[in-house]
C-alpha cells in the first residue's frame, strides 16, 4: 500500500532529508513532503509512520519527546550520525540514478 507510486527507497530519503534540519515530528515531515513536492508524490499519509519506525529501528533516526507548537506532547525525530551518513549516501545514489536515467531518456536515436 505504502507509496506504490514511489521508487523504492524514495520515501526513506525524503524522510531523512526532512529530519536533517533538526528535530521534527511525523506530521511535520509529512507536511514538508507534501509541500516541497507540491503534492506530486501521491503518498498515503499514514505510510510515513511505519517508515519512520523502521528507520528508527535501523538506528538512522532517534526519538525525542517534546511539546509541539500546539502545546501537546509529541514525538520528535532527529538524525543520528548513522542517519546523516545514510542521507548523504542516498542523495548521491539518487543523483547518479537520476542522471543515468536522464541521460538515457535524453538520447536521440540509436
Amino acid at each position: 500500500m505504502a507509496g506504490s507510486d514511489l521508487f523504492v527507497g524514495t520515501l526513506d530519503v525524503l524522510i531523512l532529508k526532512a529530519v536533517s534540519w533538526g528535530p521534527i515530528h511525523g506530521y511535520g515531515i509529512g507536511r514538508w513532503i507534501r509541500q516541497t513536492t507540491r503534492d506530486a508524490l501521491q503518498v498515503q499519509e499514514g505510510a510515513l509512520y511505519p517508515a519512520l519506525h523502521r528507520l528508527e529501528r535501523k538506528g538512522l533516526l532517534e526519538e525525542e519527546w517534546g511539546v509541539s507548537e500546539t502545546g501537546r506532547e509529541a514525538k520528535y525525530y532527529r538524525l543520528t550520525t548513522a542517519g546523516r551518513g545514510e542521507l548523504r549516501a542516498a542523495v548521491t545514489r539518487w543523483r547518479d540514478y537520476a542522471h543515468a536515467v536522464t541521460l538515457a531518456l535524453d538520447t536521440t536515436g540509436r
Binding site: Y27, Q44, E45, G46, R57, E64, S68
Partner: protein, 887 residues
C-alpha cells in the same frame, strides 16, 4: 520537559506511544484542514481518510518499535555486563595479592572436584556404550558358603535359562580364553572372548566395520569367524581398513575376520578378539557341551520390555531350584540354588562406587572450605572498599547495582579459578584414568570431556555466587550508612564475629577431611605392614599361558615345566624355582575352591562342607616364596602318582579341622570326585588374595597332579630382578620359541598392584587433606591478622598499663587456638559420619578413630599456633604511642 531515553518501554508503553503519535498527526491534519476552510464537522473524517488504515499502520509501527526496544534492551544488558566485567577485572588487577590468593584457593578447590567428577562421570554417570544397557542384566551364581561371587554356568544350562525365563528376551553366554593367533606378522597370544552368536545384538553393539556374529554362526560345524576389538585392530593391525575377509590361523584352523568393534569398555574382560562358541575348541569339546558340572560360562541377558528386575529374579529362582532338583548329583559342589541378576550398569561399576562417592563428598568439603576462606577474604576486601562503594552509591548506583558489581567480581574470579582448576585437573584426570583403567572395566571412560567441563563451569559459577553473596549478606547494613558512621571500629565487631564463625566452620570441615584422610592413611599403612606370610623380596614371577593346541596333555605340560625348572636352576644366582597355577596376590579373590570332607568323620551336609582355596604347586614353591614348612614336608619330584594324591595344607586349615593334633598323615576326601588326599605337610598361612583380604584356608596339590597349562613361574635369586626377568624369557623361548611370556614382574610388584585401588584413594584423600589444612590455616592466619589489626589500640593500652609481651602473645595465640578448638569440637561430631561412610573403603585397620582424631586435633592446634605467630608478633611489637596516634 524532554524525555530522552525510553529504552525500558513495556508493551503498554509501546501502544501508548504509537497511538499518541498517530492521534497527534490526525489532530494536526484536522486543524490544518479547518484552517484551509474545510467544514470542522467533516475535517476529522477527511484527515482520517487521507491517513489510511489507522489500525494496520499502528500495528506495523508497534512491531517495529517492539523489535527496536528488544534489541536495545539486550544491547544495554550486554554493554553493562561488559562494563561490569571490565571494571571487575581492573579492580581485581589492582589487588594482585588478593586476586592470586583467591585464584589459587579456588583452583585447588574446584580442580579437586573436576578430577573426582571425571571419575563419577566415567564410572557411574555415563551410560555404557551399549544401546540396550538399561535392559541388560548379568546372571551370576554366587555361593555364599564358599565366599565365591560367581561359580559360573555350564553349557547345558544356557538352553535351560533361555527357555525357562519368560521375563528375559535373550540370554547370551560368554567366557574368555587365550589363544595363539598366526598370520599377519608375529604370532600373537590373544585374549579371546567366546560368545554365543546373539551376544553383540543383545547388548546393542553395532560394529565399526563389517558385521558381528550372525544367527547360527555359533552352531557346531560353522565356518570359524573372528570379530576384532577396536584396540587390537588399531594397535596390532594398524587400523587396516581392508581387514574384513582376511584370515588368521587359530587352534590350527582358518578364521575369517568378519567385523571390527567400536571402542568398548574392557568388560567382561579385556579381550583382543571375539569368536563364536563353535570356534572355541575347549567350549566345543564333548565334556564341556554335555557336563553340567563344567561351570565356566558367564551369562548375560536382556529383560523383556515391561519386565522388572524382580520378575527376572523370581524366574531365576524358579529355574535354579528346578535344576537343583532335577540334576542333584551335578550340583553337589554348589549348595546354593541362588542365581542372581544384576543390572549391567551396576555390575560394571561394582566396587568402585563407594570409593568414588566418598572422594566426591570429600572433594565437595574441600571446596566448601575454599569458599569459606574466599568469603572472608572478600569480607576483608569489602571493608577496605567501603569508601569506594559509598562513592559509587552516592553517584547513583543503587544497592542492587553495587551488589551486582560485587557478584560480577566474585563470579569472574571463580570462573578464572575454575578454568585454572581444570588446567590443574587435566593431567590429574589422565593419571587417574590410567590407574583406574587397570582396576575397573570402565576406567578407560574417565576423560576430560564436555560433561566434566560443563560441571566445572557450573560449579565455578555456583561457587562465585556463593562466596559473593555470603559476605554481602553478613554486611547487614547499607554501605552508605556505614560510611556515614565512618569508623571501622563500630562495623568491625559484627564483621569479626562473622569471620570467626567462618574460620570455625573451615576448621570443622577441614578436620572432617583430615580425619577421612587420616583413617585412610592409617588403613593403608596397615596394609603395607601386614604380615602376608610370605617373603616377596628377590622373587621374580611371570605368566606363561601354554598354547592350547600344542600342550594338549598333561605329559607335555609336565615336560615343559620340569625343563624350565631345571634350566633356571642351572642359572647363576638362582636359589629356588617353582611353577604354580596361582601365587600370592596374583588375584584378589578366590579362584579355585575345593569342597572336602575329613576322612573318618561323618560328612556334613553340603552347605556346611569344609572348603579351601586349592593351588597346584611344584616342590620348591614354598621355599621360593618364603613360606615356612611347619611340620611334615613339602612335595618332592616323586609326588606325581595321581591315584593317591598327597597334599600340603595351611596352618589355619590344620588348626581348624585338626585342633591339638598333627594334621600330617590325616586324610581328606574331595566332594566332587571322592578322591582321597593324604596330608603330608603343614605350611604357614599366606594372604593369598593380597594384604587387604583375610587369610584363606588353603590346600596345595602337587603341580604334576593336574598339570595346568596356565602356568605362573616363580624364581628366587640373588641377582638383579631385571636380569632374572630376561633369563626367564630366554629360558621359555629356548624351550618354545613361539611361547609368549607375559606379566613379568617381581612378587613385590604383584603385591603392590593388588592394593593399587586403596593406594590411589589414600593418595587422593591425603592430597585433599593437605589442601584442606593449608586453606584452613591460611584462613585462620587471615582472621588473626585482621583481629590483631582491630585490637592494636587495645594492645597499646595493655602495654602502656604494663602488660608484658608474652602475655599479649598468649592473648593472641589463645584466641586463635580457641577458634580451632571450637571448630574441632564441631568437626568431631561430623567425623563420626565420615567414619561410617568410609567403612566400605577402609581396608583392614579396625578401630583407631579416636587416635586418628586426636592426631588431627594435635596437627590443627600446632598449625593454629604457627598461623597465629606472625599476627602475634605484630601485636607484641605495638608501640603504645603510635597506636594512640593512629586512632
Amino acid at each position: 520537559m524532554k524525555r530522552l531515553f525510553r529504552l525500558s518501554l513495556g508493551e503498554r508503553g509501546v501502544r501508548r506511544d504509537v497511538a499518541s503519535e498517530i492521534q497527534f498527526h490526525i489532530e494536526m491534519r484536522t486543524r490544518e484542514l479547518i484552517e484551509a476552510g474545510v467544514d470542522p464537522s467533516a475535517a476529522r473524517e477527511q484527515a482520517i481518510a487521507t491517513f489510511g488504515d489507522v489500525g494496520a499502520i499502528e500495528a506495523e509501527c508497534r512491531s517495529e518499535t517492539r523489535q527496536r526496544v528488544r534489541t536495545a534492551t539486550w544491547r544495554e544488558v550486554g554493554d553493562s555486563i561488559v562494563q561490569d566485567v571490565r571494571y571487575a577485572a581492573r579492580t581485581l588487577a589492582r589487588t594482585p595479592g588478593f586476586t592470586i590468593t583467591v585464584l589459587v584457593t579456588l583452583a585447588l578447590g574446584i580442580g579437586a572436584n573436576s578430577a573426582v567428577f571425571s571419575m563419577v562421570n566415567g564410572l557411574l554417570l555415563k551410560h555404557p556404550p551399549y544401546a540396550n544397557s538399561d535392559r541388560m542384566v548379568v546372571l551370576q551364581r554366587p555361593v555364599a558358603s564358599l565366599s565365591v561371587a560367581d561359580v559360573g554356568f555350564a553349557a547345558p544350562e544356557v538352553a535351560d535359562f533361555r527357555s525357562q525365563t519368560p521375563s528375559l528376551d535373550g540370554v547370551a553366554e560368554y567366557h574368555s580364553m587365550s589363544f595363539d593367533l598366526l598370520g599377519h606378522g608375529e604370532p600373537r597370544r590373544v585374549q579371546t572372548g567366546v560368545v554365543s552368536s546373539g551376544f553383540f545384538d543383545l547388548l546393542g553393539v553395532k560394529p565399526l566395520l563389517g558385521r558381528t556374529f550372525a544367527r547360527g554362526e555359533d552352531q557346531t560345524g560353522a565356518v570359524p569367524v573372528l570379530v576384532l576389538s577396536y584396540a587390537f585392530w588399531v594397535n596390532q593391525l594398524g587400523a587396516d581398513s581392508s581387514i574384513i575377509g582376511k584370515t588368521f590361523t587359530m587352534n590350527d584352523r582358518q578364521h575369517t575376520v568378519i567385523g571390527v568393534l567400536p571402542p568398548l569398555p574392557n568388560y567382561p574382560d579385556q579381550n583382543d578378539v571375539w569368536m563364536p562358541i563353535s570356534s572355541c575348541p575347549f567350549r566345543s569339546s564333548a565334556r564341556m557341551t554335555t557336563m553340567r558340572s563344567m561351570r565356566m560360562l558367564s551369562l548375560f541377558a536382556r529383560t523383556k520390555p515391561g519386565a522388572t528386575i524382580t520378575d527376572v529374579r523370581s524366574d531365576l529362582a524358579t529355574v535354579g531350584a528346578r535344576l537343583h532338583a532335577q540334576f542333584r548329583d551335578d550340583y553337589k559342589g554348589i549348595p546354593d540354588e541362588k542365581v542372581s541378576a544384576t543390572p549391567i550398569t551396576s555390575a560394571m561399576s561394582e566396587g568402585a562406587a563407594p570409593s568414588v562417592l566418598l572422594l566426591f563428598g570429600i572433594a565437595g568439603l574441600v571446596l566448601l572450605i575454599a569458599c569459606a576462606n574466599v568469603a572472608h577474604l572478600t569480607m576483608a576486601r569489602h571493608l577496605r572498599r567501603q569508601r569506594e562503594m559509598a562513592i559509587r552509591s552516592a553517584l547513583g548506583a543503587g544497592r542492587r547495582r553495587v551488589l551486582r558489581q560485587l557478584l560480577t567480581e566474585s563470579v569472574l574470579l571463580s570462573l578464572a579459578g575454575g578454568l585454572l582448576g581444570l588446567a590443574l585437573a587435566g593431567p590429574g584426570i589422565s593419571a587417574i584414568a590410567h590407574i583406574v583403567a587397570r582396576l575397573t572395566a570402565r576406567g578407560n571412560e574417565i576423560a576430560l570431556d564436555w560433561r566434566v567441563v560443563g560441571f566445572t563451569l557450573a560449579l565455578s559459577v555456583a561457587t562465585g555466587v556463593f562466596f559473593g553473596v555470603l559476605p554481602a549478606l553478613t554486611d547487614g547494613r547499607d554501605l552508605v550508612t556505614r560510611l556515614r558512621d565512618g569508623g571501622a571500629t563500630t562495623a568491625g565487631g559484627g564483621k569479626l564475629r562473622a569471620r570467626s564463625a567462618l574460620v570455625i566452620g573451615e576448621v570443622a570441615l577441614a578436620s572432617v577431611v583430615l580425619v577421612g584422610a587420616g583413617l585412610m592413611i592409617r588403613s593403608f599403612a596397615h596394609l603395607l605392614r601386614v604380615d602376608t606370610g610370605y617373603d616377596p623380596q628377590n622373587v621374580v614371577t611371570a605368566h606363561v599361558d601354554l598354547n592350547w593346541t600344542k600342550y594338549n596333555n598333561g605329559q607335555v605340560v609336565r615336560n615343559f615345566a620340569n625343563a624350565f625348572i631345571d634350566r633356571l636352576h642351572a642359572s647363576s644366582g638362582v636359589t629356588a624355582v617353582a611353577v604354580a597355577n596361582e601365587f600370592p596376590a596374583s588375584s584378589s579373590s578366590p579362584q579355585n575352591q575345593l569342597l572336602f570332607s575329613i576322612r573318618g568323620r561323618p560328612a556334613p551336609d553340603s552347605a556346611r562342607m569344609p572348603h579351601a582355596e586349592l593351588n597346584y604347586v611344584s616342590p620348591e614353591y614354598f621355599r621360593t616364596i618364603g613360606v615356612p614348612v611347619l611340620s611334615g614336608r613339602s612335595f618332592t619330584a616323586d609326588d606325581r602318582d595321581t591315584a593317591s594324591v598327597v597334599v600340603v595344607v595351611s596352618r589355619s586349615l590344620a588348626e581348624r579341622y585338626f585342633p591339638g593334633a598333627n594334621a600330617v598323615g590325616k586324610q581328606i576326601t574331595t566332594a566332587s570326585q571322592g578322591t582321597t588326599l593324604t596330608i603330608v605337610g603343614v605350611v604357614g598361612d599366606v594372604r593369598e588374595f593380597g594384604p587387604a583380604a583375610d587369610v584363606p584356608e588353603q590346600i596345595y596339590e602337587p603341580f604334576n597332579a593336574l598339570s595346568v597349562r596356565d602356568i605362573r613361574v616363580l624364581v628366587r635369586s640373588r641377582g638383579s630382578a631385571g636380569a632374572m626377568m630376561n633369563r626367564i624369557r630366554d629360558v621359555v623361548h629356548e624351550l618354545d620359541a613361539e611361547q609368549p611370556v607375559i606379566e613379568v614382574r617381581t612378587l613385590a610388584q604383584a603385591r603392590d598392584e593388588v592394593i593399587a585401588a586403596p593406594r590411589l584413594i589414600t593418595l587422593l584423600l591425603g592430597l585433599f587433606g593437605a589442601v584442606a589444612l593449608i586453606i584452613a590455616a591460611a584462613g585462620l592466619g587471615g582472621v588473626m591478622a585482621y583481629s590483631v589489626g582491630q585490637r592494636l589500640q587495645e594492645f597499646g593500652i595493655r602495654v602502656a598499663l604494663g602488660a608484658d609481651r608474652s602475655s599479649i602473645l598468649r592473648l593472641v595465640v589463645g584466641q586463635g587456638v580457641r577458634l580451632v578448638v571450637a571448630g574441632l569440637l564441631i568437626g568431631a561430631f561430623a567425623a563420626r559420619g565420615v567414619d561410617q561412610l568410609m567403612s566400605k573403603v577402609l581396608v583392614g585397620a579396625e578401630g583407631g578413630e579416636a587416635l586418628t582424631y586426636a592426631a588431627v586435633a594435635l596437627v590443627f592446634v600446632a598449625v593454629a599456633v604457627v598461623a597465629c605467630l606472625a599476627p602475634a608478633r605484630r601485636a607484641t611489637a605495638v608501640d603504645p604511642v603510635t597506636a594512640f596516634k593512629a586512632s
